[in-house]
Amino acid sequence: MNALNRLLTGAALGFAVAVTAVPAVVAETPPNMLVIAHRIDDLTSMDPAESFEIAASDALRNMYGKLVNLDPEDLSAGYSPDLAESWEVSEDGRTITFTMREGITFHSGNPVRAEDAEFSLRRAILMDKTPAFILKQFGFTPENVEETIKAEGNKLSITTDKRYATSFVLNCLTATIGSIVDKELVMANEVDGDFGNTWLKTNSGGSGAYKLQSWKPNESISLQANPDFYKGAPAMERVIVRHVVESASQRLLLERGDVDVARNLNPEDIAGASSAEGVVIEDELRGRLMYMALNQKHPELSKPEVRQAFKYLVDYAGMQNSFLKGQYTTHQNFLPKTYLGAVDENPFSLDIEKAKALLEEAGVGEMELEIGVREAQERIEIAQAFQNSAAQVGIKINITVGTSKQILARYRARELDVYVGAWGPDYPDPHTNAGTFAYNPDNSDEANATGLLAWRNGWDTGGLTEMVDAAVVEGDREKRAQMYRDIQAQFRETSPFIVMFQLTEQIGRQENVSGLSLGGPITNAAYWTVTK
């Protein structure tokens, strides 16, 4: 058996030597490279006319220019000129004419022309992918785009179906779908009349600070700096976003210096990483809201007193200070903070006695309800906290946990009694949320307006729909802001929505990384401002 012992010892020693012979990994990323650990498994397409996910929007913001855009270094200033250097609004308020900036080129070397802008906006309408609704709400249709979106020389004019607030139109053009693509390049890669969609899913044809080098699904996104970017060559010559699912793995990579930024750290890892040498934790307010919705097709939930009572059954402060600590702050309005017309009024707090009194007033005794929630830890915990409060007033809550697709399908079919979910704005204008939380022109089942949250909950908004319609065409910025404040005041009291929290994203970064803007509540990440 000596031979066996020798064999075992040899194998063990050999393995140990093999392991220890491997040199330690490099403990710092290169000074001209930004490496980000992020979950990017939601990414489905790199075509700006099609993409509608966070990970892709971050990348696309850095790859494409738009007519107007938000300045990552001064987000509060709102939209500002980008590929269009100026614009004029016609007297009837329906036509906006943009003058294109001269001397800008796409990554391919082709010049950026009004014709490219015309092609890009028309293409988005004609392709009619999910985000097309952002432009279609101005009355653009496949049939009329040749008349309503027109280039002439270095000017592009767009004509809406009626007068809208200019700020509304321009804010929508800062969304990803407003990206200007390289017409010559894209059409050279067109297949079967797809407007180059298949090609653009995995390639880029923009004029932004970065061009797409590679996208490996569920692995990484690699961006290469555009040295001819009109705002100046980015300091980071390469940006790599690595798909790392596990928070603990992201933290280890950050602490070892193998990534510069970790974007999906959970509260435990945030606490742990905050004491690591050279690591800085940053908070950034985001636009995502956590809310609970009461189905108004349920006879008891449709009573105004019951809606009010439920708003007093949520332990906002308790949740914010426990399992949501650092990640969500209490916010009870449908416009995220920093949006035009946003308010910071949070009148509700946990008050069991008040809820009891309101339920008695409504004549509601014991009842049993189903809450639908997708399998996300914080949402399940919110549902459980509510279940606990509701039990104190004689309401039995059954929690149904499912995949997002399972729960969402039932929510859209108006089948759930109560839904716990999240909502993020689609574009940086108050109408993005007003137009779904407080807008429902036809509450009938036949309307099938599954895109509207108010419809999904069977809520006839009681006049708010008309107020939303009025606000979206108001030209005076301050008047418009006040209109949204008024809508939200009424919404807080009457709606079946219990808006609870606004997301705060906590990231870990190396202390030598500066200038990274994740876009705040209103837009996406910008990498070209980063320095080390």
Binding site: A24, T44, K201, N218, A248, S249, R256, T403, K405
Partner: protein, 352 residues
Amino acid sequence: MADAPVTTERRSTAPLFSWAKPIVFTLGSVAVTMLGLLFVTFIIGRVMPIDPVLAVLGERASQEAYDATYKAMGLDQPLLVQFFYYLTDVLRGDFGMSILNARPVSEDIARVFPATLELATIGIIIGVVLGVPLGVVAAVKRGSWIDQIARVVALVGYSMPIFWLGLMGLLVFYGILGWVGGPGRLDIFYEDIVPARTGMILVDSAIAGDWSVFRNAFSHIVLPASLLGYYSLAYISRMTRSFMLEQLSAEYVTTARVKGMSEWAVIWVHVFKNIRVQLITVIALSYANLLEGSVLTEIIFSWPGIGSYITTSLLSADMNAVLGGTVVVGLVFIVLNVFSDLLYRVFDPRSK
């Protein structure tokens, strides 16, 4: 005499038929198994309470867009018709497009499967190289300290969550000691340097002769492969010990010892030879399990393998991808089974 040519013909075709029969039978059973696998997976995928249309369109989709996409995806057709179309596509080698990233599923699988193959192969090598001798020694020295160690190793391997062990491994060997690479297959500086010929970075870098990439890839694979190898080792060593104990109590072993054979010869020439066939099954099953993809290991180590690919696809209702991945995993099982059968024929004279 008139019958002679007929007799000759019968004599010449009979051996050919007997040679072809097992092949035809094997291929037939593989085809039937694959068809069954495809059918069951397809039906499960279609009746699952998840909505592939919403997976494509997202939460904001209007009803009109939903209806149009529903039809475009062929979901308005009867299930059997959908399956028939799918089957004819698969027979042409077309698994369809991923409904999420709109890439051909076959391309995705060609990208993720080599990552799993590379990891699983190193894992099984570790499991076999360490597990088999450990099991043999534990059986031969039953009750000794080495037997106790083998039992503890097996027990820990069975009871310790791989998730926890993986994280601890990363923390110690990557986070604290810095001996190995972190999550991912390569450090970013080494990505896309060597051309992807096989998709297995160790092999590709060796072919390219780029040993710096090879070393870096090895530093990344060594920890997850050791982890998987450990779990295989636990199973293989336990089974080896059990097979050996059964044989060691047999009379032919006593006879061999009485004849004065060395202990080495008794164990390796006689006893081990007799457990090879059983071990082949155990090793093939372990390897197949590893090739199926260890989802948790792949998640912790950010390893883009087939396990996490199928899981992510399933959670995203990307049924083309799930079906494609399932077919590949099914094929792996079938191929390993066929391979085991062939080895049986080589090692077990009775099967001849």
